[in-house]
Each structure stands twice: as C-alpha cells, then as structure tokens.
Symmetry: C2
Subunit: 342 residues, 2 copies
Amino acid sequence: MHTVYSAEHRLRDPRTELHGGELVAPFECPARAEMVLEHVKQCALGPVLSPQTHSLDQILRIHDQRYIQFLQTCWNDWQAAGYAGEAIPYIWPLQDAGEFRSEDIQARLGYFALASDTAVSDGTWQAALASAQVALTAQNLVASGQESAFALCRPPGHHATTDRFGGYCFVNNAAIVAQAFLDQGASRVAILDVDFHHGNGTQSIFYGRSDVMVLSLHGDPRVAFPYFTGYADETGSGDGEGFTANYPLPRNTEFDQWDDALTTALRRIAAYAPDALVISLGVDTFINDPISFFRLQSEHFTRYGARLATAKLPTVFLMEGGYATEELGLNTTNVLRGFEGG
Amino acid sequence: MHTVYSAEHRLRDPRTELHGGELVAPFECPARAEMVLEHVKQCALGPVLSPQTHSLDQILRIHDQRYIQFLQTCWNDWQAAGYAGEAIPYIWPLQDAGEFRSEDIQARLGYFALASDTAVSDGTWQAALASAQVALTAQNLVASGQESAFALCRPPGHHATTDRFGGYCFVNNAAIVAQAFLDQGASRVAILDVDFHHGNGTQSIFYGRSDVMVLSLHGDPRVAFPYFTGYADETGSGDGEGFTANYPLPRNTEFDQWDDALTTALRRIAAYAPDALVISLGVDTFINDPISFFRLQSEHFTRYGARLATAKLPTVFLMEGGYATEELGLNTTNVLRGFEGG
C-alpha cells in the first residue's frame, strides 16, 4: 500500500490545549505522525510519496470560503491584536445570535469554532492545507487504480464541519476525499469512521445527502466528546434520511463488542454498494489511549484491518486520532497490514 | 443611601480566567467588592446592611430550574470527574444540536455557558446566590419607600441569560430585581445598563416583553465583548418590539459623547414612565479600566450620577463590572453620591 506523507504537518505544533480547565501540552502533536511514518517504513508497507498540489477549489467543495479565509488569516490577526497566548475561542454565538456582524478576531474565533480545546497557532493553516493535499493525493492513487492508499494526514479532520474547527481538526479530509470521488464520477461513497470519537463534522457535512453514507463507531456521546452528537437515532435528514449510521459504545468496550458493531456497519455499506470507501482511521480505540475508553489491543487492529478488506472496495485510509504515541505507529500499520493480508 | 453587602461574595475566588489564549488571574476578583465597601464607609454614603434571605423562587422567576441545578452541582460534579483545573467549558452545542441528551459535566458546561472566559470554581454558587440576595434586599428597601438603594453585588449578573453563564456572571441580578418589582404590582420597570459591556443576558431575558424596558450603553460589539449582540438595530421582538434600546459607542469615547447617549436613554425612559428604575452599574467605562476602551474620568461618574437622579424614579443600583480595582470604590461611590446630590 502506498503512503502519502508531508513533513509540513510539523508546522502544526501548538503549545496549548484547554483540557480539564488547564492549558496542557496538546495530545495531538507532531510526534504522532513521525511515529506512524517510522512504522510505515519499518514494516515496509510500501512506497512513501509526497503529496501533489491540488486546487483550493477541492477544499471549497466542502468548506465555506469565509471559514477558509478565517483559517488563513486567524493567526496573523490574533497576533496583531496583541494577545499573549495562542488563539483559543472564549465566546461563541448563542442559538439566536443571528447574522455575522463583528469582524473582530475574537468574534470570528467564536463563529468558526465548535470547541475551545483546540488552539489556532502559527503554521496551523499551512499544516491543515498540507493534510488535505495528502488526503487528495491518496484519493488520486485509488481513483487511478490502486486498490488502497494511506493518507498520513495530520492534523486530523473528522470533527471539522463546513465552517467550524475543534477537536484538533480544521479541514475535513474525509469529506473532501468523498467529494473528490463523486466529482470524478462516482455515484456513491461510504465514509466509515473508526476513530474513538464521533465524526461529528463529517456527519454534519453529509447529513442531508444520500450520495455519501457516513457510518461511525465511537464512544457513547453521553459520556464522551463531542457529547452533543453521535447518538444512534441520528440517521440523516431529508434526502439524507437513512444515510447516517451511528454506533455508540459504552465505557470499557472490548474488541468483540466493537467488532460486532463493525460487522453491522460493513453490512450497511455492502447494501449501499458504494463506488469507494473512505476510512477515518483513528486508533484511539486502543486500550492505553490517554483520552479514550475502549479496550482494543494491538493485535485487534490487525484483525479489523483484515475485516475491512472484506468490503472489497477501493479504499482510502485517512489518519485521524490516536494519542498513545508510543503504540500509535504499530496500531496504525497493523490496520493497514491486516487490510493488505485480508 | 443604604448599601446592601454580603461577605459571602468572597466565596467566589477563582484562580483562572481564559483571556487572550492564556489562563490569567481573574479580573473579576474579591478585592473589587472590598474596595467598593471601603469607599462606601469612607464617604459615609449611609448604612450598610446584610441581605435578608429570599426564596429561590424569586430567582426561578428568571432562570431555568435546570440551569440553577447545574450551578448548584457543577463544582462537585467537576471535581468528581477528576479534572485538575477549574470548570471551564471546552465544547458547546452547535445551532442544530437539538435536545439535551448528555448529563456529563463537560456537556452541561457547554450547554449552560455562553463563554469560556469564566471558570466555575468552589463557592461560585454560594456567592452568586448571596449576590442575588443582596440585590433582592436592595429592591425591598426601595419597594418599601426608600428613594434608592445600592446592592453591592458580586459576582455581577448582566451577562447571564435564563440558562447561560459567562462574562463573570451567573445569576442575573438586574432581571430578578425588575421581576420582583413587577410581581409586587409594578406595571413597568426600566433597566438602564451603564456597564462598559453590553448587557446581553438582560436583553435576552426581556427581549420579547414590554413590561421591562432594557437600555444599554456600551462598547461597540463589533470590537468589544460580547461581540454577537448589542447592536443599535436590536430593538426587541414580538410584544417586546421597541422595548430594547442599545447605544454602542466607539473606541476612545469621551464623557461628552457617552453623556449624549445617556441623555437619549433617559428620554426614552421618561417616555416609558416606569414605576421603578434598575441601574446595572458597571464602572469599567473608566479611562484606566484594563479591559475596556472608554475614557471617563472619576469626576464624570459624579456628573452622570446626578443626571440619573433627574429621572426622579425609585432606583436600585446593582454593582456590575469595573476592573481598575484601585479606583473602583471612588468611581462607584461618585455615581451614588452624585445621585444623592443630584
């Protein structure tokens, strides 16, 4: 399997994350992607390619132009305002807030965020753009005939909505890849999100559409980030009714229970008969993940990788979360090697 | 003029405020109320009374029961969850988030907050409750025939909505006092908010009602907290249409310009002919205030205090903001003495 990687992810290296009422060193850090790359090389997964440059238009198929402009200018505007810390939203519009009236950087942070865990820092936009280029390059490989490809994206993307960042995510790589398949002629694409956290951004982007099915296995939002979405009765709306599927799972979920949900999701995908499959690959389902609560062991990643291959679909893997950095490379490549051997 | 004060405000003594991407020592601190009390005594404004105990029902006339329960339990629940810092919201529902489904303390923080500047800390509910008792006791004095009274409230209240905290505010003292006047037989009450920041909570509580007119002079929300409300074209809705008035003013506003807006507001109040006047008294309009941008000098507070007396209405003053602690007592008592001499 080919891997696509860009060293520009390192430009995203914030100092602060709001976590439990404190500013801590971010769980989502450059060492994560480096660890995965090291294991990709160690296990000889296949060639490692640099991303090609794709037009911003492909990102704007998913994200609002005004939001992208915000990401491009946020750090400079924040610095120009003279703040000492990184750019963390501290007020947001209420549900009845109406139209967009203030251009103050504090107001724009509030408009364009869904969480205050994630700081915008120097280099964030460049890294997020490179991450999307990595994703689109992997999509191109699969669209050109490769059975699968691995986009070693960082920062991750699945929490980003059309116009909101948060949960370490800025640009929704999975959504952009799915849209690219459609724009190249696919009729249907499935996105399967196996990250520990509900892919709330991806869900919201496609909630009213039937051409992308979004399925997510994740920690029960009653007790896990992002709390407000990811419930089993969220199934889509309008044309999208029936094309969203959520599998919330409780604390201490073991692999067998998780795998049962995966089986159900794969059946849904088979019935949908998509032209391509996009995997939002978070490995924070791992038992030692510091901010999650499932109990998968390293060998389970190999097993479910093999199971993903049974879908027999052109498949793009996109790196999402996973914060047990030491084991991150092993668990990620286990999925990919399992897929190739499956 | 009688002052009502409770030492229980000291129970609200958080360590952290999210400001400019950093956790800093809160601007809204116990020394503020102590400084005002000291000046009240120094200038012999009048007797200083302790608050009487009023029923929680008076608070529940304004605030949702579920929100009050949240304030009562938040700190314990947060501690039970094992977080190291103070309780600061880090994710909030989007506009399409729908119903209230997670009881996790992180979810409730997000539901019940409008900003992440303000941490819930040990003692916060007790202090907020005492602040409301102080306000209601001052209201009683005026309802019982005193021409005016000063509620030395802390924490302040004007940013709190029926079900959201933020901007240092938890319980909306001005709204509770206005409602108390109505419940005792008043037909109309005016709330005049002279704090530097738009009284977004107070506005939202009465936006659809004609029995309370809400007028606010404040820093232009295009460039000042709370950013999303406080624009001149927000005039109320439904039955409340025409009973909200906002006077946003630009950076470096001098007293004369501010005073012109006050004159306009007082004319509106005179035409409304309320039975009582509630003043949300923030003195962060002061030139040296660390987080505001008007240019009032200490003597101007005396002048506008005298001008407020020209309304010739039973008047309850409620302490709101003001963060230049050294001058806070002088500026506050200048308003009150100006009123008495006016």
